[in-house]
């Protein structure tokens, strides 16, 4: 079947899609967007987190057909100025110098990345948290928001630092 969807602001279509295929497979194998990672295929690790109509989802748990006519934003879409970010205020859609989003820049500055395999999912999830947050979220709120994302390298501390840093820099949503 053919699946029509908008990915990172661009209308696109994937052909020859099998009904049981996951959105993750479509993104990675058919649309050439390997940013979202496949680490468990059962929605436990969050490495494949993408926006679906503005809500972060595990792309491995979304059937390809469910994405028909909908809007997907992946980690690749966060660092481009031309990608409108559903559910995010204009401040959160801003991309700072060198094309990085503030959340990505904060991950860089805080040293929140090690192997980087979980990072795309965490970047999207942190982006979603900050799109909703009023100021710097509490420690408990950050931990809760990231509680669907496994990281085996960092012990999370510098990821939490990155979220706080990004929140401080972004300020409250307008």
């Amino acid at each position: 079947m053919r699946v029509n969807l908008t990915v990172n602001g661009r209308a696109t279509a994937a052909d020859d899609v099998w009904e049981g295929e996951s959105l993750l497979y479509v993104l990675r194998e058919r649309l050439g967007l390997p940013g979202a990672k496949n680490a468990c295929e059962q929605g436990e690790c969050g490495s494949c987190t993408v926006y679906l109509d503005g809500t972060p989802v595990c792309a491995c748990l979304v059937a390809a057909g469910q994405a028909e006519g909908r809007e997907v934003v992946t980690v690749e879409g966060l660092s481009r100025g031309d990608a409108p970010l559903p559910g995010a205020g204009p401040a959160h859609g801003d991309v700072s110098g060198e094309g990085l989003h503030e959340v990505q820049r904060a991950f860089l500055d805080a040293g929140a990345v090690q192997c980087g395999f979980c990072t795309p999912g965490l970047v999207v999830q942190a982006h979603a948290l900050l799109a909703e947050a009023d100021g710097v979220p509490s420690d408990a709120d950050i931990r809760e928001a990231l509680a669907g994302n496994l990281c085996r390298c960092t012990g999370y501390e510098k990821i939490l630092d990155a979220v706080r840093l990004a929140a401080t820099r972004l300020g409250p949503p307008p």
Partner: protein, 794 residues
């Protein structure tokens, strides 16, 4: 000086691609390649009767099906036993595809190649393998009983048995010392299995170039050079015709140092046979049941000590669960046996281990590699002595420390590298002082009393370790400055998230006096550097870091020599700053390294403006000597190796405060403090990250993670839903302090840091829970329900 970067928290140079989805991991490569999938044994122990593929042949898109019978030559032999040892009298390894017998659930039996992974798995589901189920051997003590055998020709299931013994100061044996000691304790400890569980599983992608008769293999490995040699040997290819590249790797923690994995030779073999690109990406369940586990041990301890808690003799007997095979030899129990000693002088010591086969996933090193078990043993021993004598737990430890003026300190044992266990440097009393201050050890009793008055149970624990890091035999580094002024650094070992591109660039920039932006680093690519060992044993910074520094020094010396000639100066008066060679104190007399690079390579042909300067008619040259002087080489590049006489010993001490819920037995970590000494720090931000990650894995191993096998040898929790790795909600903030006692063994004075964080965590949390509850904790991990059971059985 802008180029002094060693020791600075420099931002990671690999991150821009990783945070934007532009990293390229194994499964991100090879779009359009054929996909491999495997039929794996559903039984822990069985004889293969027949393989019926007839239904699978109808799958549209099927390309090939292979069993052991199809494998030619060396490929049909058992996989290599990578690290032989005289005590490993009955080492056994698996066949790439099972031959007659399967010995654990998950062992590969049939390989299927199809147009894509969905189709390959469909075909797998249609292949029927007939089995005669044999009696599975599950459980360490059951296996050691030897009633049933994992391998018919391994009596008692004992693969290896090793005793190491060090007499006491008066020549007494450990047995004599313990028997004669004023006080004695005897007890048993249990540590469960866990596993590395990197977020990215294993994976292999192979491209055969039929025109060139060459093979390029990408593997998510911790050792590309050794995978390359294994592939060349198994496939009968000349080594120069095989290239192996480790792309971005999504974590390793030890499991990816094992090689060649069956898939690492089967996929290249089939790619060549089919003359098609072929890829296999491990899925999560496959990783649980067909890679490696670690940690499982039972320890019996006898210890003798004096009134001050000073050890006089220590005897430890270890049963080590090795799973079904021993491809990595007996490195793990050797490390347990030796690193158990920690920062202490133990008097007379005797350690004996038996490595036992079971019908479970094989055991190979997982971050810490046997040390967490050894440290659990020693630190529980210290706490038991303190409890017995009614002394402060840190006092008993301090009474046994190797003192700062006693280095180098010879523990009298043989370490995992086959070399003597000699500690090179450290300051254990200072580390303990720092830790006690950081956690507030001395004021904790009041805190505990206040909590108790509120009906809360809190406890504090401490744990110390010494970690042999930077094991040999060697690593190398190559550094080239090209005529555009860029610096290209390569080393053969691989990266799995440690930030090597950053720290090696820091070293090169500092050594050469160039801006870090001009330095690029390549690791784990045999096209760039062919001689290497791999990334394990907290060795990358020590080994490749020093090798790269030495290579840089060669390049620097050459650059100064050429520049001196051009500037008509004495090389000894020259410095390099920001990529410019200049006379010290006279910045105007200078020449860019880029130009030096041009001059280093006498040319016949000009290809750009810069190159013209090095051509044969460009300027005055000495007629009486060849353009490339005797003993010289063209180009501004250098290669060097670092091969240490023995390991360098990092150390650290952790402390934790936990709270246990009186009703639910939930265990919560209130504070976690780390004092860590890995010699000179190259990048404190990266070292901290390594410690945090290690502690998190330690917390997982102490409180959440275990491999739950049933009596049939089925792994019941082979998924992220059931194997409980910690999330951000489980890991506390980790307070760290660094102590730097440089290693005298290497030019940069550094020690390894990769594994450190994980090592003492089980011991520390056991101690803290014990302190909160007043119940001996002799088994890890401990869940709320375990604690509940312990409370009821008291």
């Amino acid at each position: 000086m802008t180029t002094r970067l060693f020791g600075e928290p420099v931002q990671r140079r690999e991150d821009p691609r990783l945070i934007t989805g532009r990293g390229r991991y194994l499964d991100d490569l090879g779009a359009g390649a054929l996909a491999a999938a495997f039929v794996r044994s559903p039984h822990a122990h069985a004889r293969i009767l027949d393989v019926d593929v007839s239904d699978a042949l109808d799958v549209d898109g099927l390309v090939a099906i292979y069993t052991w019978e199809d494998l030619p030559g060396a490929l049909a032999e058992p996989l290599p036993l990578l690290i032989p040892h005289p005590a490993l009298t009955h080492g056994r390894t698996a066949y790439p595809l099972a031959r007659e017998i399967v010995r654990h659930v998950g062992e590969p039996v049939v390989m299927v190649v199809a147009r894509d992974r969905y189709l390959a798995e469909d075909a797998c589901a249609l292949i029927r393998v007939g089995y005669e189920v044999l009696k599975p051997v599950v459980g360490l003590e059951e296996a050691a009983g030897g009633a049933h055998l994992v391998h018919d020709d391994v009596p008692g299931n004992i693969g290896a048995h090793l005793v190491q013994e060090v007499p006491g100061p008066g020549g007494e044996t450990a047995r004599e010392a313990v028997d004669a000691a004023p006080h004695r304790l005897e007890f048993r400890l249990d540590v469960e299995r866990s596993a590395c569980t990197p977020l990215e599983g294993k994976g292999v992608y192979a491209r055969w170039d039929a025109d060139d008769a060459s093979l390029r293999v990408y593997s998510s490995t911790q050792t590309s050079t050794s995978v390359r040699m294994a592939i060349a040997a198994k496939l009968g290819l000349p080594l120069p015709k095989v290239e192996v590249v480790a792309p971005d790797v999504g974590g390793g923690f030890g499991v990816k140092i094992v090689h060649p994995w069956p898939e690492e030779i089967l996929v290249p073999w089939a790619a060549r046979l089919l003359n098609r690109e072929l890829k296999w990406t491990e899925d999560r369940r496959e990783h649980f049941v067909s890679s490696s586990h670690e940690r499982g041990q039972v320890q019996h301890v006898r210890v003798g000590f004096d009134d001050d808690g000073r050890l006089l003799g220590l005897e430890v007997e270890i049963l080590h669960d090795h799973g079904a095979y021993t491809p990595y030899g007996i490195i793990v129990p050797i490390i347990t046996s030796t690193q158990l000693l920690g920062p202490y002088k133990v008097g007379a010591y005797r350690v004996e281990f038996s490595s036992v086969y079971t019908n479970t996933v094989q055991v190979t090193p997982y971050r810490g590699a046997g040390r967490p078990q050894g440290v659990f043993c020693m630190e529980r021993t210290m706490d038991k002595i303190a409890a017995y004598l009614g002394r402060d737990r840190t006092e008993v430890r301090a009474a046994n420390f190797v003192q700062p003026d006693e280095f180098p300190y010879d523990q009298g044992l043989t370490f995992q590298d086959g070399r003597p266990l000699i500690y090179d440097s450290g300051d254990y009393p200072e580390a303990l002082r720092m830790l006690k201050e950081l956690i507030g050890w001395d004021s904790f009793p009041e805190e505990k009393a206040r909590a108790a008055a509120e009906g809360r149970r809190i406890g504090i624990g401490v744990g110390c370790y010494v970690e042999g890091t930077g094991v040999g035999p060697y690593e190398g580094g190559h550094v080239q400055i090209t005529s555009d002024g860029r610096v290209h650094v390569s080393t053969g070992l691989t990266s799995q998230g440690q930030g090597h591109e950053t720290v090696f660039a820091q070293i090169a920039a500092t050594e050469l006096g160039v801006p870090i932006e001009r330095v690029s680093v390549v690791t784990g690519d045999t096209r760039r550097f062919g001689y290497a060992v791999g990334t394990f044993a907290s060795r990358a910074a020590v080994m490749s870091g020093n090798a790269i520094a030495l290579a840089c020094r060669k390049v620097r010396e050459k650059a100064l020599r050429i520049a001196a000639e051009a500037l008509e100066a004495d090389p000894r008066d020259l410095e390099i700053t920001d990529g410019m060679v200049h006379v010290a104190g006279a910045p105007s007399a200078s020449i860019p390294l880029a130009t030096v690079a041009v001059l280093s390579n006498p040319l016949r042909y000009a290809f750009d403006e810069e190159a013209k300067r090095a051509t044969q008619f460009a300027g005055p040259a000495s007629d009486d000597r060849p353009p490339v002087a005797e003993g010289e080489e063209p180009g501004l590049e250098g290669r060097d190796y670092y091969s240490p006489v023995r390991s360098t010993f990092a150390a650290g001490m952790h402390a934790a405060i936990v709270e246990t819920d009186p009703d639910t037995a939930e265990i919560r970590i209130l504070r976690y403090a780390v004092v860590h000494d890995c010699g000179r720090l190259i990048n404190p931000m990266i070292v901290e990250g390594q410690i945090h990650g290690g502690v998190a894995q330690g917390v997982g191993g102490a409180l959440y993670e275990k491999m739950v096998y049933d009596e049939h040898g089925q792994l019941l929790n082979a998924s992220f839903m059931d194997f409980l790795m910690p999330y951000a909600t489980e890991i506390p903030r980790i307070e760290t302090a660094h102590l730097e006692t440089p290693s005298p063994l290497n030019p940069l004075g550094i020690k390894g840091a990769g594994e450190a964080g994980v090592i003492p965590v089980s011991a520390v949390l056991a101690a803290a829970i014990e302190d909160a509850e007043g119940i001996p904790i002799d088994r890890m991990p401990i869940s709320p329900s375990d604690l509940h059971t312990l409370r009821r059985s008291r």
